[in-house]
Amino acid sequence: MLDTSTAAAWLKDYAETIHENREVLTDLDRQIGDSDHGSNMDRGMAAVAALDPAEFPDAAALLKKAGMTLVSTVGGASGPLYGTFFLRFAGSIGEDGELTAKALGSAFAAGLEGVRARGKAADGEKTMIDALAPAVAALREAAAQDASVADALASAVSAAEQGRDGTVDMLATKGRASYLGERSRGVADPGATSVTLLLQSAARTLS
């Protein structure tokens, strides 16, 4: 299973990564959104990183609290979306056996389904789903071939990066970027970028 200290290391690494990249994210959002993705995610993940892992009985409890903290501190669309991701991820992560690529694949898939339900976005609409969905698919495919957690996450990261890069040429049809119409092309989606960072953090800390 995913132990509490490993989950805490993932959240801490992601909080640091978001902090380092907050201006990159805000700059992407400035071009096709409303200039706040970096500062909002940074505020939310700083609150998550401040949680004391010792206060939680298991990783699921910590990740659930992380989700609720994001809902309560981020605002915008990212708060409910990332919050729902972690709440569903926490609800799916297994309680017995060792952490496997299969268990991780199921948890990421549950998170993705939560994001789809909350955001009502489909593939190809220039959102975080365009990086998260291929990453989940790659993770589950690797798991089906009995790959190690490290190898499965490595292929998920490269699928996410590819998916993120694929959003550059997409036309946004959901969220604030959709108001720009054709002018939304040419910039990577900020949400697809921040969720790729989440996968990269997972690869560094969960394997």
Partner: protein, 330 residues
């Protein structure tokens, strides 16, 4: 960035301190939840009206809390939706037993956060109206739908009057839907604006250019066009609104709104052009409002809102209102 602030991270919290200090006769502020409440909330038996959204649009929404308008407003970070905890705290604080109406502007984040708050409000009947009046956005499969802009102000006033005189939640919701369906807006900008936390202007605009069809979050509009005269701008705004809905068969309430960085002198000048164009097009302007009512920080520019009214809507419009941003009849 040159702004009258102390720290970019404290802008909203510190503005709420000032709001409480300036308007303590009308409102009280829950600083922990960043909710501006009507001083005498909850009112027993009265439908509670709540709105909220990102900060940076002042006087909306906190400036519209008070007698005859909102019972509470949730203040998010600048241009960022508030979070469900705030809306839940506001809902619980204003519920007087007659239920609560959430007035939500149609932005992805606002809708999601208000949805989550409504799901969390056990034991209180909550209904929602999502305002989507911006004709600059095509309502199609290819957008998140029309944005909620100027009609929100008129709706908060009109439905606020209905709630104040004791109309129930179903009646308030039906009226809110009617007002939203009959209001249309179109905005334009001469300059971008700077979100304090971002520190840089939200887009760039040349000296000889303007943006038509802007929203209220510093986002670019639908088209960048050469700078025109006030007469030309007025004609484009009026044309965009009138081509979307027929306003010739009933009296209209017209708002010419400043985006935050345009002097009243220019707003009146534009309003003069707008009213002449509307009258020429057969629209009977029954009431008007000119000034900064739904702003986008220091952006220069304006928006036009036209609401198709009737005797009942005009009666509610004229009813007493006592808020920081609108005050008459009391």
């Amino acid at each position: 960035m040159k702004k009258l602030i102390n720290d970019a991270g404290d802008v909203v919290a510190e503005a709420l301190v000032g709001m409480a200090a300036a308007h303590g006769d009308v409102v009280r502020v829950d600083h922990e939840n960043r909710v501006i409440l009507r001083k005498d909330a909850p009112r027993k038996g009265k439908v509670g009206l709540i709105s909220g959204g990102g900060s940076g649009h002042e006087p909306m929404h906190g400036g519209y809390v008070g007698l005859g308008m909102l019972d509470a407003a949730c203040a998010g970070e600048v241009f960022t939706s508030p979070v469900p905890d705030q809306m839940l705290a506001a809902t619980q604080a204003v519920d007087g037993g007659a239920g609560v109406l959430h007035i939500v502007k149609n932005y992805t984040g606002d809708v999601m956060n208000f949805d989550m708050a409504a799901e969390m409000a056990d034991g209180i009947r909550v209904e929602s109206i999502v305002v989507d009046d911006d004709v600059a956005v095509k309502d199609s499969l290819y957008t998140a739908g029309r944005r909620g802009v100027g009609t929100t102000v008129l709706l908060e006033k009109i439905v606020g009057a209905a709630a104040e005189e004791g109309q129930d939640l179903d009646a308030c919701l039906a009226l809110a839907k009617k007002v939203n369906g009959q209001g249309r807006s179109m905005g334009m900008a001469l300059t971008p604006c700077t979100v304090p936390a971002a520190g840089k202007p939200s887009f760039e605009l040349g000296e000889d250019e303007m943006e038509m069809g802007i929203g209220i979050h510093g986002e670019p509009g639908r088209a960048r066009v050469p700078m025109g005269s006030a007469r030309e701008v007025a004609a484009q705004l009026v044309e965009a609104v009138l081509s979307d809905l027929d306003f010739t068969d009933s009296p209209a309430i017209v708002m010419l709104n400043g985006m935050g960085g345009t002097p009243l002198l220019e707003l009146y000048l534009v309003y003069g052009e707008v009213e002449r164009l509307l009258t020429d097009a057969g629209v009977e302007v029954a009431r008007s409002l000119v000034g900064d009512y739904i702003t986008s920080l220091e952006m220069a520019g304006c928006s036009l809102t036209v609401l198709k009214a009737d005797e009942e809507i005009l009666r509610l419009w004229d009813a007493p209102v006592v808020t920081a941003g609108l005050r008459w009849g009391a």
